[in-house]
Symmetry: C2
Subunit: 341 residues, 2 copies
Amino acid sequence: MATIKDIAKRLNISVSTVSYALNGGPRSVPEHIKEQVWAVAQELDYRPNRVARQLVTRSSDTIGIVPDHPSEDAMLGPYLQQIFNAVLNVAERRTQDVLFLSSHSGSDPNTYLNTLLDGRVDGVILIADNRSKLRELLVSRKFPHVMISAPNDGESPTFGVNNISGMIMLVDHLAELGHKKIGYLRGLSRQPDSQFREAALLERAAHYGMEIRPEWVRDGDFYSETSHRVGLEILDQRDLPTAMICFNDESAVGFMNACRDRGLKIPEDMSVVGFDNVPWIGYITPKLTTVRQPTGEIAHAAAAALLELVAGNPVTSQLFEPELIVRDSTSRPKEDKFPHA
Amino acid sequence: MATIKDIAKRLNISVSTVSYALNGGPRSVPEHIKEQVWAVAQELDYRPNRVARQLVTRSSDTIGIVPDHPSEDAMLGPYLQQIFNAVLNVAERRTQDVLFLSSHSGSDPNTYLNTLLDGRVDGVILIADNRSKLRELLVSRKFPHVMISAPNDGESPTFGVNNISGMIMLVDHLAELGHKKIGYLRGLSRQPDSQFREAALLERAAHYGMEIRPEWVRDGDFYSETSHRVGLEILDQRDLPTAMICFNDESAVGFMNACRDRGLKIPEDMSVVGFDNVPWIGYITPKLTTVRQPTGEIAHAAAAALLELVAGNPVTSQLFEPELIVRDSTSRPKEDKFPHA
DNA sequence: CTGTTAGCGCTTTCAA
DNA sequence: TTGAAAGCGCTAACAG
């Protein structure tokens, strides 16, 4: 493979001149030399060696995405997919590469840190909450990073959705429809997201004087199978809520299946809402009322911020507002249909 | 940042000894020296500089994924997602990175080639068909690569699904149910996949003496909106087929929506089949009969093969068999329900 | 067995 | 204005 040395030799000029000619600076090179250099480069099919350049410039033009809870099938969930897609788009526009760093070196954060500090990435987008050990290490080493999906504690630039107002929108919507008895299928309760949403739910529901019986609230995870199973348990009780708030769209699908199994019509017998507005939401029946998380915009902003950070510029955290999307899975509760009957 | 030089100086030994101690070879190092080296490394918080190593070993321990028709939202489709996920898994197990190379340098394949030859990846997985200009360049430069989703022409190691037998399974299934009148919503007709499937469909249908009227066959793309629209046009005709074969699951969803709009029950009035078995298939109603493409396995094999190739070992192409998954969107045709009526 | 040293290909400082 | 040369941090060939 041809190198700048070959080009220099061929033209009897110095490598520095070739380098400057090829890079268009910082030193100026006479136009006719430039042309010759480019011509010879073409002829020798010269391809710049990016690794050599990286070594001397100490920058890789690559950013990393680090999911803090790496799993075998990380890229199969819509959340990471949307983030990765958005990051890819902004990186591409700035001719940067993006590396998806799942967790080569096992789960020890300190070992894992090697991956980040060995020069392959200039900075990382960390998808984790604040208790992340890795985040701590990044902060203490001042390694350029931004966070997604963590509450903003001022330690790192953070980009996320306003979970609280999302939940409030949902409760308000149900309140407007006249619902008084609400059930809640929560996510993993150790997750900050879950906690914020639940707190908002309880507060807002209390505000409206809604009833949320303990037996209508159940733990789940993010999968529809679980919420299907748990949903059946809820539905097999005597008294039922008239509306169910599900932690995310997937669990809403599971719960809707449970309703179908028990012969409950949605939304007539039971209103159901989700959270997220996943990409395949248009394919499920009935169409689900949910809150859209602007995941793409969030990731977009995070990536842009990281690149600023890498370039040495200051950045500020950003909280995004979700959007209520009313579809066909919510309506007035049955007993409210004829309020004066 | 500490380097091996610092460690060497600290212990009054040579850098080569340090290097060998750290890497565990190829030269052997006395155990007690090794221990000292590791201790000092720890103490100085030494992190190996991977870029420097790359420069001398001329290998990046990174493979690339190259979608030949890069789009803004490349990672939003399930196909690339599954491929990426699988590749990530095998790469991780072999401590390799994977770079998703969408198309930085514009669409000129030759410029684009720079990206691949500048040392950042040791080889690439090309997702393209055989007419790919980029593939041609890779072949002529003997740059390590494998192909996914192209017919195997013997030029490059190729990994894909047997489209023909997939379509045959589908037609056989419909024939067994007693369908005689078949419609077909095809994909983009310039795509080799589409062509193979259509050829197989026509041949197999002829074999069974099935009727496929031209007005039951329509072009589409891969999106449900299109097939929804086109589906309505088909359904507004006088005579209808009893079963519709859709190019992929997404278009099947669109067509099923069209059926719903026209009051046709699935599968009673119309059997519908898709192709792919996308991840969210469990969420649509009625559950779709389809052919599963083992995309994950294919990508897995492709990635493993690429790593072999990079290591200098020979590899062989592989064709994967699809699998018919019968669910609730197909049944006997109506007029066949009482064959002797 | 271990230390010295020559690069890998590039950028950039320092001299001329 | 341009060339020579010093590294970047590492591996590995070579020398002792």
